[in-house]
């Protein structure tokens, strides 16, 4: 049986780790390479770097961060943010990432998913989604860090990206992100039953039990959190111990 994965996410700007609450009030917390190494020691199953740098220089810094991390962290690394072209995907994988995560760019240019999967394989194309509830069991997809509503139905979108060859979905709920009241279970359930590729729960973890709850209540394959781990309120091994005590298979 595959183990459920616990994934710490590092939001990185200009080579430094930051974490915004509801995408605002960004606060620096440290060196990404060191943070990734610590998560690795805590038993993280995968590490996600989310690059929130806009500039070209920042992009190069991000690839250096990936290169340095890949020298001392031996679990899969995913890099998201600012990936616009197949060349960007290639550069990121060559720097040492195992997967890339595409979000806004995939919404604006869905062909990026197919082109990336055709060249590098589905397993390295993760599609990140920011979505927000508009009615019961109905959500729309946002871009630009949750700022622009594209009016696209979430369920239509996830089916489309699966067909285009995405290997995984990282599903972030704008409604629960930063609120710390637990993952968005209705949204997760709806997406997990619409597709047959792994879904990572993101946005909303506020306490230990939130992780196990997502695994018990939905078919998600992994759960991701940023600030909770950054600010050392919880460690990855604490989360895993809680899951284990509830008979969830974790590494």
């Amino acid at each position: 049986m595959l183990a459920k994965r616990i994934i710490p996410c590092l939001d990185v700007r200009d080579g430094k780790v930051v974490k915004g609450v509801n995408f605002e009030g960004i606060k620096e917390v440290g060196d990404p390479v060191q943070c990734a190494y610590e998560y690795n020691l805590q038993g993280a199953d995968e590490i996600v770097f989310y690059d929130i740098t806009a500039s070209h220089e920042g992009r190069g810094v991000m690839l250096d961060v990936v290169r340095d991390t890949a020298k001392k962290v031996f679990v899969p690394l995913t890099v998201g943010g600012g990936i616009k072209t197949v060349d960007d995907i290639r550069d990121t994988l060559r720097a040492g990432a195992d997967k890339v995560s595409v979000n806004s760019q995939a919404v604006q240019n869905p062909q990026l998913i197919k082109n990336g999967a055709d060249v590098f394989g589905s397993q390295c194309i993760c599609v990140g989604i920011d979505a927000k509830k508009i009615a019961d069991n109905k959500w729309t997809v946002y871009i630009n860090g949750g700022r622009i509503d594209m009016g696209i139905d979430l369920i239509d979108w996830v089916k489309q990206i699966e067909q285009l060859g995405a290997g995984e979905i990282c599903l972030n709920s704008i409604d629960t992100d930063g609120v710390r009241g637990g993952f968005d279970l209705p949204m997760l359930k709806a997406v997990c039953s619409a597709v047959n590729i792994p879904v990572i729960a993101s946005g909303g973890a506020g306490k230990l039990a939130d992780f196990a709850e997502a695994f018990i209540e939905t078919d998600c394959s992994a759960a991701l959190a940023a600030s909770l781990f950054h600010f050392k309120e919880l460690t990855v091994d604490q989360v895993k111990a809680d899951c284990k005590s509830k008979s969830i298979i974790v590494r």
Binding site: M1, L2, A3, R5, N40, G43, D45, A70, K71, K72, F74, V75, P76, L93, R94, G96, D98, F120, G121, S122, Q123, G167, E168, N196, I197, P198, S221, R251
Partner: protein, 205 residues
């Protein structure tokens, strides 16, 4: 020196990073002489079987690989493990290196997500020097859509994903193959790579 065969397949840098981290001298190479001079050889690989076999044939290293795998520790990783077998049916029937008896075919699990991607538990079937120091509760990282079908005598570990998925194979002498990525499997993977690298030290003594 451990030679990492560079024939154009991906993920060679992570294997190199892991060996560097562990402090074992290594070299990415596509040269015959390096494989002959090496104390051990690692054959990595990500991608499709026919494509990789074509690249290996173009590299002119096939005969050297076949010969050297009988003389020194040899580890195939992921697709590099699959290439050890006689045949694959990925897209089309394709001959492999034929160093181990068996074939490679699709993971046929209609109810499960394919590729088999993530951390799965090793179930050991035989003792193996690569398992030294491991507990019976070890998870390693897999990413693949095809799996090897081999004789029980060559199977050393499997994992459960619907049915058994071949995880680690060996000829009981020099040849080893890991379907998972030891270079991405945390402490467990590093331990397996270290155990492999240490075989070369023993051979050299």
């Amino acid at each position: 020196m451990i030679a990492i065969v560079d024939y154009g397949a991906g993920n060679i840098f992570s294997v190199k990073n892991a060996l560097d981290y562990l402090g074992f001298e290594n070299k990415l190479t596509n040269k015959t002489q390096d494989l002959i001079d090496a104390d051990a050889i690692i054959l990595p690989g990500v991608g499709a079987f026919p494509w990789a076999m074509e690249k290996l044939n173009e590299s002119g290293l096939v005969d050297t690989i076949k010969d050297q795998s009988k003389r020194k520790p040899f580890l195939g990783i992921c697709l590099g493990m699959q290439l050890l077998f006689e045949k694959s049916y990925e897209f089309e029937e394709c001959d492999g290196l034929g160093l181990l008896k068996g074939k490679v075919d699709k993971i046929d699990e209609p109810d499960l997500v394919i590729p088999h991607m993530g951390w799965n538990k090793l179930e050991f079937t035989q003792n193996c020097p690569l398992f030294e120091g491991l507990s019976d509760d070890e998870y390693v990282y897999f990413v693949h859509s095809y799996k090897a079908f081999c004789d029980d005598e060559n199977l050393y570990a499997y994992c459960d994903y619907g049915h058994r998925v071949t995880a680690l194979v060996s000829d009981g002498k020099y040849i080893y193959g890991a379907q998972f990525h030891p270079e991405k499997s945390g402490q467990t993977g590093l331990k397996i790579l270290e155990n492999f690298a240490k075989l070369t030290v023993k051979e050299g003594e």
